[in-house]
């Protein structure tokens, strides 16, 4: 009985309307938190006793890396829900996650490289953490490539869902790579011995993580709305959702050509019975009057 609220999210019109209302809240909250986190992290947080000011890259690197993993889990979970329960919205969410996840992975890799040069002396090393994160980027790209390879949306959903579910095995590998193997990369930034210790460092980091999470949710909702519109293009609720009357696409024919003689524009009332060229003027009853 408690799952009724959850099942509503499976309804495309409900999801479309709810997400429209929610996007501004998530977007503006993300912006405010991002500004606060940046000011706190770049201005007020003290330098690290070993890395100096170079550690400040973590205020964008850690949220991006965290999101790159989380987005993949969300994508795989949505794909599994769509595959098992055939929920259209779940497939739309999974499809919308891929671009966002790939961009977070690019940011995590790019900012990590920029942090690695002054700290490790090299931009790139074939370290387990870096290599598995690069593999994650290829998984995202493969997912997007596979989707675009199909014209049929349903087949694209099924094939890409299988790839997303199989690829989720890489997520724990990335997370535990610094534990399982000898790695240049430090341990968990927030939890454990390798993490930041003082509140003046981890508070801005937590604020930036929250900002990135809200930003992701806002963009996911925007992308999913577009995806739903494309998938539900023949649904009658689309008209209402776009501010017009409901449209029954099943009753409509192909769009009329302007030169088509079979469809005439509605004549003005004053032209009936007059000496116009309209066929109505040729009707015997009209000529009688």
């Amino acid at each position: 009985m408690g799952w009724v609220w959850f099942h509503r999210f499976g309804s495309p019109p409900y999801f479309y309307r709810l997400s429209k209302r929610m996007v501004p809240w998530f977007a503006w909250s993300a912006l405010v938190l991002c500004v606060v986190g940046l000011i706190d992290g770049l201005v007020f947080a003290p330098p690290d006793f070993r890395q100096g000011d170079g550690y400040r890259i973590i205020f964008v690197h850690v949220p991006a890396a965290l999101l790159s993993l989380q987005v993949y889990v969300v994508m795989a979970a949505s794909a599994a829900i769509g595959l098992i329960w055939r929920m259209k919205v779940a497939h739309a969410v999974a499809a919308s996650c891929a671009t966002l996840g790939a961009s977070f992975t690019v940011v995590a890799l790019g900012t990590g490289m920029l942090w690695g040069k002054p700290m490790w002396g090299t931009y790139w090393a074939w370290d387990p953490r870096l290599t598995s994160e690069l593999l994650l980027l290829f998984l995202y790209l493969g997912y997007m490539g596979l989707r675009s390879g199909f014209d049929d949306t349903a087949r694209a959903d099924r094939a890409s869902a299988v790839l997303a579910i199989v690829g989720v095995v890489n997520v724990p590998i990335i997370h535990y790579s610094v534990v399982w193997w000898n790695s240049l990369h430090q341990g968990s930034t927030l939890i454990g011995a390798g993490g930041v210790a003082v509140p003046s460092m981890w508070v801005p980091l937590v604020i930036m993580i929250a900002a990135f999470e809200l930003y992701f949710i806002a963009l996911l909702l925007i992308r999913t709305r577009g995806e739903i519109l494309r998938r539900e293009r023949n649904a009658h609720w689309i008209g209402e959702a776009l501010g017009g009357p409901p449209v029954d696409f099943s009753q409509s024919g192909p769009p009329a050509s302007p030169a088509s003689p079979s469809v005439a524009p509605p004549p003005a009332l004053g032209s009936y019975g007059g000496a116009s060229g309209h066929p109505a003027a040729q009707h015997p009853a009209a000529q009688r009057g």
């Binding site: 000011d53 920029l114 992308r223 409509s252 004549p267 066929p279």
Partner: protein, 65 residues
Amino acid sequence: MIHFLQMGGYATYIWPAFALAFIVMGLNIVWARRSLHMAQTEARRRMLSARPRPQPPRDFPGLRP
């Protein structure tokens, strides 16, 4: 201010890292909004073409004797 921008000698790494992050995030916003806008435009176009069109008059029963 100069001291802040120099970031203790790490400016050449810190500012490009932040720039990369925010450029990608900005592009994501543009792409997502454009994707939604295109989907809405397409849906409106389909909606307009699907509206029932007026049929040509066949007869005028009201004018019959």
